[in-house]
Amino acid sequence: MALSGIQIYKLLPQTNCKECGFPTCLAFAMKLAAKQVELGACPYVSEASKKQLAESAAPPIRLVTLKADGSEVKVGNEVVMYRHEKTFYNKPGLFLRVRASDPDLAKKVAQADAYKVNYVGMDFTLNGYAIEADGDLASAVKAVREVTKRPLILISNDAAALDSSLSLLAGETALIYAASESNYESLAEVAKKHKAVLAVKADTLDALADLTQKIQAKGAEDMVLDLGGKNLGDWLMRSTQVRRLALKNFRPLGYPVIFFAAQNGVEKEAVYAAHAIAKYAGFVVIDTFAPEMIYPLLVLRENLYTDPQKPIQVQPGVYEINSPKPESPVLVTTNFSITYFAVANEVEGSGLPAWLVVTDAEGMSVLTAWAAGKFDAERIAKAIKGFNVADKVSRKRLVLPGHVAVLSGEVEEELPGWEVRVGPREAVDLPAFMKQALN
């Protein structure tokens, strides 16, 4: 938790020597609290105060980064329980677990690695692979590294095997799963040596907090927690408690969480993974490479990690729905994502072709934008002209949202030669309108 100016002041020498460039230590402390100066400007801060200030500046949930040559995954650094309070920042990494003993290991990873799916203009992929050391780990790591450049999680209790495998991954940051009460000393050594992240597991949160402190004392700083728990409800409570404690600056549990989605059977995997994504996991490991599951999970993750203060806006432009032809109608809407999706979805679902013109209404819905003067005849005309819509159609027929029926006269004036029609108020009524009124 960030300290206030007064709290910082108490940690300063309080001599008002002015060397920092400020008249008093208090003035300097205020600037520090506002993050407008660096602590280094005061030459007289004690080591103890430095340490305390550094700790207070650290995020409540440690930022953990897994790195490979091709990509990285950052998790942690979260600051809220509920996304509307601010936002969720770092999307949980979605990892596929594979087995070292699998004769098709490389093939499976290569196939999964090629997976890419587009959602509203963004390409999503898996974030990495978790290798279960049920065979020779080092040769599995070699085989996997040949077919993917994404970060790795190594699942093994064998410090020697981990050591030799991590030597193959020089320059990367991998995750070791998992240190427990019985092996943490040797695993912490390996993690420290290779600058790897160490997953830590224990049966209770009390035991887990003890263990992370012991590991930290061994010099391993980057950790990830496995919370255990017998089912979804149990895990939800643990995950909520850990997030709450961490946000109250309880350092021993201020780490991201890892969750194995198939722990209670692959038939529950999709639901388990979704639950973990919604409720604070930093790494989610799945066992099944199934696009029909991965796609909705990636979309769920994107949705929940969208900044609620900045709704996704759709790029203004002309969107082609169901391969429109020159005689297809031109529909107009705003660039508020929900509005756009509602309209695009209905029209798409109807199977009827249309040109959908998305105007720049600063991310507001039709009614809000109209009330705010961001969706008026002038802006609509500007979009139609700016996107050269007239060149695409043989029949200049424009459909306005029903909510802005009042604009139709003005739009006609702004766009001579266009036939302006008033559509329904709600997107859901568009298919019927298009079938009945637009023939």
Partner: protein, 314 residues
Amino acid sequence: MPIEIPKDKWLGSIRTVTIGATSAEGGTRAKTVTVGGGTTMPYLHFKAPTPNKPAIAIEIKSRKPTDWSPLLAEVWGEAMADPAQWAKKAEEAGADLIVLALTVEDSPEDAVKAVKSVLGATGLPLIVWGPGQAEKDNELLVPVSEATKGEKLVLGICEDKNYRTIVATAMANGHLVQARAPMDVNLSKQLNILISDMGMPKDRILMDPTTGALGYGMEYGYSVMERLRLAALQGDAMTQFPMIVTPGFEAWKTKEAKVGEGVPEAWGDWKARAVNWETLTALALVESGADILVLRHPESVKRVKDTIEELITA
């Protein structure tokens, strides 16, 4: 060293609402469904147990729908042409409640007949939706309400532009109402106030925050629900109603669920994807505080029920 778990201290709680009436209570239902009563954010049993688990409703229609996904037609088959049969199958599929959606083609007589046939076919409590056009809703729901006096149906869907007639007839005949507002905490509150001001008892209102589907704005609904629940726990009486949500309707509108051909290969197997779409939309809404989830596919019903079971038995 034992850790002290920080616990929220809430003043308020969600109201408890019961749907359906048995013969002893003036209706004909074999059982009733009680939802709400929560005193924490969802499923945080280290604070307090979940008093009533969320209920699952299956949506059926008075006439065979022509615009539903073929995947749904495949699973419900012939029963879709007969609401009584469909309701029976829905009960077998694990529904706690039935939602019967009337259509614009129905006359008031058709509507009453359909409702009565469903009440005759199953002992489950019933929610009845009008076709969603103000005049038609009122034309159908009033006679339905009168013909089923005392059954404690839920009538819907009340929206700010049309709620008075539905609320009045529900009040007069001992039913409940579903109050829908478009993804906005204040609009939800406002409608709840309008309905309460008409004299509707507060234990006969369900609020429907509108949610959107996964990938289509669900995160707005998700956060509105969390905010409504938090407001309720903080003691805001006009947000303390159990929430009914419609992930079946939302998810099965999406292209991901509805369409099997001409879609990207990266979307994977159609049927599994469609059911995942509905299930994951529903799951997210369970997390954010839904009390009644209206679904369409039996497999989603099973998966969501299993999940709820796990969440309440931690």
